[in-house]
Every structure is written in structure tokens, then in C-alpha cells.
Symmetry: C2
Subunit: 647 residues, 2 copies
């Protein structure tokens, strides 16, 4: 079978070592189901939407203003606005590798030309710094984001190289990377960027070009961080992970996107340099972060104040920041750890995050986005303006654009490269990690995956082509099946229960053979760790990988979600069209009435009038599609069975 | 008896009308008990501490730097640093009115001279603006705080006028106020300050001087706010209450201290102009804020991000901001509403806030303070540096000073004027609102109040002097007695149960007569309104007006407070030395062990091992006196009786 050596595939991440070999966008295609429509919308609407907005708000124009020498007075947007042009280009490049046609190629060429004209002869490229009337180059490493911007530029250049072969964008990226090595390498500025991102980009560029110096520079940046070269700001140096060296940290902390991009870069460095200690350090941080600092949706980040992780078990649903970009970054990290270790737990978190966070951000039409992904919305918000920036985290509706608009382009690039996250290969065979209706063709094997997942739990893998020696088909059995039973049906019809982890079939496959995985899709109550104070006395509902929520649009009489109580003496049931109906009760509209003081002696405790009813729940990713609403994932219980029985 | 017309007393607030007449610092003295020691520490330690720090950090030096023409390069501290010098002077002035001696007078004179030298000929006075090398006057009304600083200057000047007669400080304040009227009056700048405070100060100056124009200017500022003259910042105009006119608002919102100072100023304007509609608007806002946006401690403010109120019922204990200054401002507002209406509910909130918030901020030695007053501390913090500024809201210990250090001087002025909050007079007699060991002498009546409140519930009022006609002694029966029974014992020994509200005795009193109030002091479980999501499944314990908490210092085996569960099938009991012992259980030290993922199917819910024991609770105001600790007010229950029985 195929060894884990990167081939010529269109690979979003291409480690030279690791337990598993990724498959490229030319080897895996999504053909239908949950993701196919979203990817189509991304290709046909979101890319244009992002480009149009960045023309409108002047972020693309900034590059022209540099070329024309008027950036000093004309620059628009925040200091990191360049990066969103690059992330859009990365998305376009992956899309162009999947046959998007000449119009997209022309757009890429035009944007590339605009950017190229703003690059200095020495490779420096940034519209916010280093020009007349602007601050000098590298005068504000804490907040300037210059290296962060290069990181996204380089990722776009790598995407082009892999999708279509080295082109002009790749050349710009290489010039920028050479400039970074010259400026921040040994003997240069002994600093790091306030926002990690350059690290993973430089490793990827080293992989794409074979140039060792990019890897060396990435390793230097990873090792340099945590030594307090950045200022001790109000949020503390933990905000940008400059409080502790990566190797010493035990958990992710500070600004969530920064922490996750850095961790992804550290994995890339560890894999390429064979640095097992560094890899182990990141795995340890991932474990602690997942066990103590992650929302049920996979969302990361608990504080609005600094977009940061909270302390252990500080996971308030109503203040969940769970930034879309942190979800994207978490999937990037999990994917790298999966490739490095082969362990299904990383694919488990990626699945949860893709379905409940990345899929939640974009609207059905691909032209509006959540920046923050709260798990509890108490007030119906205003309708965001169609033609102006929106605040990042304030609305109960998706917004077309933000003053800080990192999330739309991050969703765009993730959807564009999504098929690459589905499967891998190794010396033993093929591994399926994520389930979607798809076709796979790699290393002499061709597969057809048929499924309506996550609506339905049946996944059928038909072998269309196979070598005539035995090999192993591995299927991830999601961790969410814990306590229920998943079944694997072999090509000969034998059926066995498979526990969470990896189920394998090793045989000589014949074309037409079918392997089937039946996942248990009954909706289930989910209880939180009792140390998560913010959700005490509540339960959530999950069906397969999907987290559900109550939304005011489904409640009678104009009620808001604070009227909902669920009764865990019963069980939630499947409802029509992917809804779930949970047994429970609804408080009357104005109950409880206001007390003068909202705290009472326990023997006079508040007792709102309520009526028993079934509560309709919808997939969390679909909320806010029907106008301003209130919503909650964690549902208060009438019988608080979250306290273990018999205690 | 005495009519409600302001006499010559030493009065922190002196309305010319209203239901009740305040009594001055020359009419009420605190002689022992809970507050006496704190007031002594304030006078002998805190005032010096604040002055020393403001010399050290250069905030007093700023005034010298203005005089010496070097403020452009030498200014220290934030833009509002002047205000803390003024608040300290206000505290000193009230203290000097209670016989503090020549040393304090000399300090006041010296500080006043320093300030006077920095005042411009036209009355302008600010060290941050309007000087060479600094921004121009009034160029940043959103954040500049110039009018806010005048407000505190004027309050200091009024305190001097009332405590010792008009002096140099009063003259500086009048010049500043005249400048404000000239600059912001009709035909002047049509703006308001980003931080309300000038409003209440100008009304008080009008009261102290009889100058109508100060009142007119205050009324103008109150009416001008809410029309969007300030910029629409990231936090929205609600941050500084410029989103809605005061008369239209239905609840306090935005930055808590700003909202409360503005409300206090609006009450002052309403009372002096007989504007009942404006008064009613503030009462309505107070009601909604108390019913839906106030922590059990009386603390206000739910968000760290902008130090603001949250939405209705958003009261997370671990992110309770509950700034000390908001507590001070809340007491200021409640006191004004009490004087205007005579309704005991305002004294109820003031009591709660004084014992559980204002008393919590200062350390026993009066040289360290809480800025934010969380209701739940999860991690033991570091010991704050003794010789450097501390972050505002990060530690589990009180800190000596902050970069924004509004709270220490606000505590100082409140403790200095505290006796004035105890009692009032009206045409019918004397009203006791707060209970402390005290002496009162006003309008032909002399009283002696003996009590160990709030350790003990017995309050004995002995009549030492009385006119020989009937009059009414009114005693507030606190709202926290709801569901228990308070008893009033008349001078003739008759005893009757008195419900929450006001208990009165009307008779011809003779010297030596004793009236007794017996308040029910058994500790009680307190349940929250079920809409406060953040404390679902928990209860608190209150004993009299004191809120209690669990603190790690009282737990065996180095446990943290997340090990505590209480069992509401039993009742909390009095423990030694004002502690309470609650029935409950303690989880073993490392229980529950980390799961890989902190959410589980309900039928496999987390069940930490625990042992039954009594949980020692201490008064919340006393926490963090024994080194870094963890603490929580809201205690998870083993039997979640917060859900009403029979539901």
C-alpha cells in the first residue's frame, strides 16, 4: 500500500513524516450530503462575497494605495486587514485545484498582481507599516501583525503551489519568507509576532519547496516564544503565549486563536524535526484543553474581554466566545495531531468542531457569518446591517462583514479544503476519519462512500478498485457512541458491535464488496462535568455528532427560551426533519413574575407556573436562520438528574 | 419636631426637599461595633495610605508639574488621576468635621495649595488636558474625564464647606463650577462627559451655596445625556448612558459606576426642581436593576470587558465585577431615594451593599483593597506586590494600589461619612435606617443605640432626651427577615411581631425609656430566581444582612472550594465567632478525575466520591484575609431543592 511519504497530491498539510499520509483534494471528493451543498455555496457565493466586501471596505485597495504611494493617508481597516485578502486567496487556490474554471483563475491572477505591486524589493510586504506616514517596520511586534500577515500570505502561496503548481503568488510568498528569515533569523531581530501563524506557514513552505531554512526559522520562532520578548500588556503575556515556552506549557491559554495557531505550528516543527518531546508537549496541552476548556460544540474561548480561554471548567454558555477562527484553528491542530499519531480522538474533536462550530458560522446563502458562537442567546438581537461592518459578538443573527473580519475567509478556506480531512492512507490501507458521501481514489484503491450522515447513521463503503492482496480498511467509531452500540457489517454480511475508537476490516477486497458501519443515532441527554459551574442543573441533547438547541422560533406563544425546562425522566425522541422532541415543560409567558429582589429564603423558593409539553430542538448549526431569536444549548431540568442518583 | 429643611449640619447630602431630613455628622456618632473599628482604621491608616501612594505614583505631583510648566512630559497616571486626589480630600474633609485634629487640617491645606496652583485664571483645572504637550481642553469628552474630575473636586469643596465652613478648597471648586457653567451652559459646548459625576456635584454645590446656576447646569447635563452627543464606541453608547434620555430609560445599563452616578445626579436634580416624573423614572430604573441585575451582595456589574451591567438575570458569580465604586455609588443612589421617598426598600439595599460590598473592599489594616468583588474565586492568586500597581480584578487578595485606583479613595470617603447614613428626621420624629452602636442628638431628641449588630440581632434604643409631646420612633425591619419573625418590644415591655418594612412606636418618651428590636438571626438558605442561569443548582447562606461564603482556608486537606456540596435537607447552624456551619459533603481532593471529555451521556453522569461533613462558612466581607484562597458564595447542592417541590 501507500507509504507515508508526501506525493504530488493537492495537500493542505503535507508532513514528511507521521503515522498517516494525508490524501489530497485530487484523491478525495465529496459528492453529496451535509457538506456538499455548503461547499458549493462557498465556491459560488462566499468567495465572491468576501472579495466584494474587501473591495468595498478598502482592504484590497490598500495594496493599490501602497503602489501609488498614498497609503499614508488612505489606508483602511485594522492593522491585520492584509491577512484576509491572503486567506481569501488561499481559499481560491484550493478551489481552483478542484476545477473551478477560468473566471476564478483570472480573479486570483488579478489579486496577485495587486499584491505583487505592493511588495518591496527586499520582500517586505505590509500595507500598515513601513511606508511614509505609517509606523516603521516591526515597530510594534505586539499588535502589528506583520509576521501574522506573512503567515497567511505564505499559506496562500503554498496552496497555489500544491493546487496548480508554483505561480506568481508562491513567488511573492517565497520572497516574503526569505525576507523574514533574513530579518528574524540568527543575528536579526530577536522577536516573535504578537499573533502566531508564521510558524505553521513557514513549515508548510519548507515542505512545499524543500527549503530547510524556512523550517529552521519556524523552529526558531517556536522556541523563542515564551521568553517575554513581547510587552507585558494588560491581558498579561499569556494573551500571546509569551508567558511560558511551548515545551513547558501544560494547557492552552490566552487568546484562543493565537494559542491554537501556535500549537499547530509547533506540531509541524516537531514532526519535521523529529522532536518527540515538543510533539508530546502539544498533545499534553491539547488533552488538558479538551478535558477542561472546551465547550460542548468544540468551541474554544470563554472570555469576550480578550477572546481568550478561561480557567479550567470556566465555560459559560452565554459568554462562550467560541470564535469561528478558533474552531478552524482547532481543526487544523487536530488534523496535524491525527496525522502525526493516528489516534482517533483527534478526529473525534475535529468532527465535533466541524459540525457544531465551523458549520454554524456561515448562513445558508454563504453571505453572512457568526464571528463568536455563543451557546446561549438571551435576547433577540437587531438585524445586522447589510451594508456596514457589524460588531463581532453581539447579534443573534449572522452578519455580512465585521471590522475584524477574520472569520468569513477562514470558513471559506476550510470549506474549500474540507475533502482533505476525510481520509488518510498508511502502509496497511485506508483510514476513514470523517463520514460524508464521497469518492476516494488513492494508491490502487478506489472507494465509494454512501451516507446521509449525520442525518442518518448508516455509512456504506463500496470497493470499486482494489489490489489483489489483503489490506485494511479502518473506520473511526466516534467517541459519541459511548454507552450506545455501533455495528460493523463486513463484506460477507457478518455483523459485530464495535466500541468507540477504530474498527478495521482486513481482507482481500473485491470490487463491489461493501462494508457498512451502523452508528446509533437515537438522541441522548448529555450531562456536564459537575465542575462546570455555569451549566449546573442543566443537560444538553446530542444526536450523533450534532449538538441540539432550543430556539424561540420553535416555541409557542412568542415565548423565549428561558421558559424551557426538560424532564430527564423521559428520553428525547426523533422529530421530523432532523429535529428532536424532548419531554419537558414551558413556563407561562411572564413567569416567574419579577420579585422585588431575585433571591429568597429557600422555603419560599421561586416556582413559576408551567405546562408539560414536548420541546422541539433543532441542530445547533442551523440556529438563527429564521430571524432574530433566543437560543440555548444547555437546558434546565425539572428533575435535576445531573446529580448522580443515590447521592 | 424637626421639619425637613436642611439645617447647618455636617451633611453629605442636603436636599432642600424630600420626605426625610438627613442628620449630619454632628448629630449622629458611631460609638462601637462593626463599623467603628473600620472607621478608625480609615481615619488613621487609609487616608495616609492613599496620600502616600498618590505621591509615590505621581498623581499629586501632576499638579506641581502643571504649576512648574513641565506637565507635557512629566504627567503620570491615567487621564482621571486628578479625581482620586479630590476624593481623598473629600474623605479628609468629612473626617476633619469629626474632630480629627490639626495634622489632618495641615494636610488638607497643603494638598489644597498644590491644587490651587494648577488652576487656570478662568477656573479650568485638569492636569491631563489643556497644557503644552497635552491634548487641548475638552478635545475628548468620551474618555477625557475632565467634567468627572471637576465633579469630585466640587464634592470635596462642598464637604469642606459643610464640615468646616467655606475654605480655600470650596473656592477652587466654585471657580471650577463657574467655568463649567460658562463653558457648557446655554450657548457653550453642547456636550456631556463620558463619565457622569458632575451632575450630583453641581446640585450639591447649589445646595451648599444657594447658587441656582449650578443646579441649572446640572439639570442641563442630565437632560442632554442620551441624545448621542458622545461617539458610538465599541461598547455602544449605552456604556456611558448616551443611548437613551434618563427619562426614557427603564433600567440601569452600561458601565455600572457611570450609570449609578448619573442616576444619583438625576435624583438630586429631580428633588431640587420638583420634577416628579424624573424621580419616578429613576425609581423605575432602580427597581428593575435590583430585581434583575444585582448580585446577592448588592454588587452591580457583570462584565469585565466594559465594567458594565449585564442583561437581565446575567449575574455570573465568577465574573461578577461588582466594582467597589459601583457599591459606593449604589449606596449614594439608595440614600438619595430614601430621603426623597422615605421607603425602607432603599435602606434595605444600602444595608446589603454596605455590609457585603463596601465592607469587603478594604483589608483589616486599611491599606489594601478589592477593586472588583467576585462572588466566586476559583484559583488562589498571587500575592499582590506591595510596591507596585496591581491589575484591577485579577487577584484573590486585596491590593495596595491600582493603575486605575478609584476604589480606595471611594471607600475612604464613604467610611468617613458613614454615620450620616444611619438615621433621619421628619415632622413626626426620628427614623433609624441602619443599625450600629451609636448616639444621636437632633431636634430636642437624644438617643443611645446599643447593639452588636450584625453579630447579634438585638437593637436597644434608649431615650436620653425627649420633648414632652408624643413623637414617633421608626425602625426599619429589614427585608431579609421575610419568612422569619422580628419582634419589637415597647418601653412598657409589650412585645409584637413586626413584618419587613417600618416598625413605629409613637408615644411621649421619657428619658430612660428603652425600645428594643429583636431581629431573627438564624442562618438561612437563600435560593435564586431560576432565571439566573449562572447559579442554577446552588444555594447561598445569609445570616442577618450578611452573605456567607465557603473559603478554602476553612477546608481540610488543602481542598479548594469546588469540593463543597451542601445538603439543604438540613439547616445551616451558627458556628463559633460569626461562622456558620452548613450540612454538606466534601469531594475527595482530586475528584472527579479528569475525563478525556467533560460531557457524558446522562446515564453515565459524573459521580465524584465525597464524604459527609459540616462545611464552615464565613462572612463574605471577611474573605481573603488569610492569604491566597479560593472562595464561593453560591454553593452547589447535593439535593437540588432549588427546584420547587412537587414539580
Amino acid at each position: 500500500m501507500t507509504e507515508n511519504t508526501a506525493g504530488p497530491s493537492v495537500l493542505p498539510v503535507a508532513p514528511s513524516r507521521g503515522r498517516l499520509r494525508p490524501l489530497g483534494l485530487d484523491e478525495v471528493r465529496i459528492t453529496g450530503g451535509f457538506w456538499a451543498g455548503r461547499r458549493r455555496t462557498n465556491a459560488t457565493a462566499t468567495l465572491d462575497h468576501c472579495r466584494d466586501w474587501m473591495e468595498r471596505v478598502g482592504w484590497i485597495g490598500n495594496f493599490r494605495a501602497v503602489f501609488e504611494g498614498r497609503i499614508g493617508r488612505d489606508r483602511r481597516g485594522r492593522e491585520f486587514a492584509d491577512s484576509d485578502v491572503y486567506k481569501l486567496l488561499e481559499a481560491m487556490a484550493w478551489q481552483s485545484g478542484q476545477g473551478a474554471g477560468p473566471s476564478l483563475d483570472a480573479q486570483i491572477a488579478e489579486l496577485t498582481e495587486t499584491i505583487a505591486a505592493a511588495q518591496e524589493p527586499d520582500g517586505y510586504l505590509n500595507t500598515a507599516f513601513g511606508h511614509p506616514g505609517r509606523q516603521p517596520r516591526y515597530s510594534d511586534l505586539e499588535w502589528g501583525h506583520e509576521l501574522y500577515c506573512y503567515g497567511h500570505l505564505i499559506q496562500a502561496g503554498v496552496a497555489q503551489a500544491r493546487a496548480r503548481g508554483e505561480g506568481e503568488l508562491t513567488k511573492i510568498a517565497r520572497r516574503a519568507a526569505d525576507h523574514v528569515c533574513a530579518t528574524f533569523g540568527p543575528g536579526g531581530i530577536e522577536g516573535v509576532c504578537g499573533h502566531p501563524e508564521i510558524e505553521t506557514a513557514l513549515v508548510e513552505l519548507a515542505r512545499a519547496t524543500g527549503e530547510q531554512r524556512y523550517l529552521d526559522q519556524a523552529a526558531l520562532f517556536v522556541d523563542r516564544r515564551g521568553h517575554g520578548t513581547l510587552a507585558d500588556i494588560e491581558f498579561g503575556r499569556a494573551y500571546y503565549q509569551d508567558d511560558l515556552p511551548v515545551r513547558q506549557a501544560t494547557v492552552l491559554r490566552g487568546h484562543a486563536v493565537r494559542a491554537l495557531y501556535l500549537a499547530a505550528g509547533a506540531v509541524d516543527v516537531a514532526v519535521e524535526t523529529g522532536d518527540d518531546a515538543l510533539l508530546a508537549a502539544v498533545v499534553r496541552q491539547w488533552e488538558a484543553t479538551v478535558a477542561r476548556r472546551t465547550h460542548l460544540t468544540g468551541g474554544m474561548g470563554s472570555h469576550h474581554r480578550d477572546e481568550s480561554f478561561g480557567d479550567d471548567f470556566v465555560l459559560p454558555p452565554d459568554r462562550a466566545y467560541a470564535e469561528t477562527c478558533a474552531g478552524v484553528a482547532s481543526v487544523m491542530l487536530s488534523w496535524r495531531l491525527l496525522l502525526a499519531t493516528g489516534e482517533p480522538r483527534f478526529a473525534d474533536l475535529a468532527e465535533r468542531t466541524l459540525f457544531n462550530l465551523v458549520a454554524t458560522s456561515p448562513s445558508d446563502d454563504g453571505r453572512a457569518f457568526f464571528y463568536a458562537n455563543t451557546l446561549h442567546r438571551r435576547r433577540r438581537g437587531a438585524v445586522p446591517p447589510a451594508d456596514a461592518d457589524s460588531p463581532r459578538a453581539e447579534s443573534s443573527l449572522r452578519a455580512p462583514w465585521f471590522a475584524v473580519s477574520c472569520c468569513p475567509t477562514n470558513v471559506a478556506r476550510t470549506l474549500a479544503l474540507l475533502p482533505a480531512y476525510l481520509a488518510t492512507a498508511d502502509g496497511h490501507g485506508i483510514q476513514l476519519h470523517q463520514y460524508a458521501d464521497a469518492e476516494l481514489s488513492a494508491g490502487g484503491v478506489a472507494l465509494r462512500v454512501r451516507t446521509d450522515y449525520p442525518s442518518d447513521g448508516r455509512v456504506t463503503v463500496r470497493i470499486d478498485r482494489s489490489p489483489d492482496h489483503p489490506w485494511t480498511l479502518s473506520l473511526r467509531v466516534p467517541s459519541w457512541t459511548e454507552g450506545a452500540t455501533a455495528w460493523l457489517v463486513d463484506a460477507d454480511g457478518t455483523r459485530r458491535a464495535v466500541p468507540p475508537g477504530t474498527a478495521t476490516v482486513t481482507r482481500i477486497f473485491r470490487p463491489g464488496d461493501e462494508i457498512r458501519l451502523d452508528l446509533p443515532m437515537a438522541p441522548r441527554w448529555i450531562a456536564p462535568d459537575p465542575r462546570i459551574d455555569a451549566v449546573r442543573g442543566t443537560v444538553a441533547v446530542q444526536r450523533g455528532p450534532l449538538v441540539y438547541c432550543a430556539e424561540s422560533a420553535d416555541l409557542p406563544g412568542g415565548r423565549e427560551v428561558d421558559a424551557v425546562r426538560v424532564d430527564t425522566a423521559g428520553e428525547p425522541q426523533d422529530g421530523p426533519e432532523d429535529t428532536v422532541v424532548a419531554p419537558g415543560e414551558l413556563a407561562a409567558s411572564q413567569e416567574p413574575r419579577d420579585a422585588a429582589w431575585p433571591y429568597r429564603p429557600l422555603d419560599r423558593a421561586f416556582a413559576p407556573a408551567a405546562e408539560r409539553t414536548g420541546i422541539v430542538l433543532v441542530p445547533y448549526h442551523s440556529w438563527a436562520g429564521r430571524g432574530p431569536s433566543t437560543m440555548r444549548v444547555w437546558l434546565p431540568t425539572t428533575q435535576p438528574r445531573t446529580t448522580p442518583p443515590g447521592r
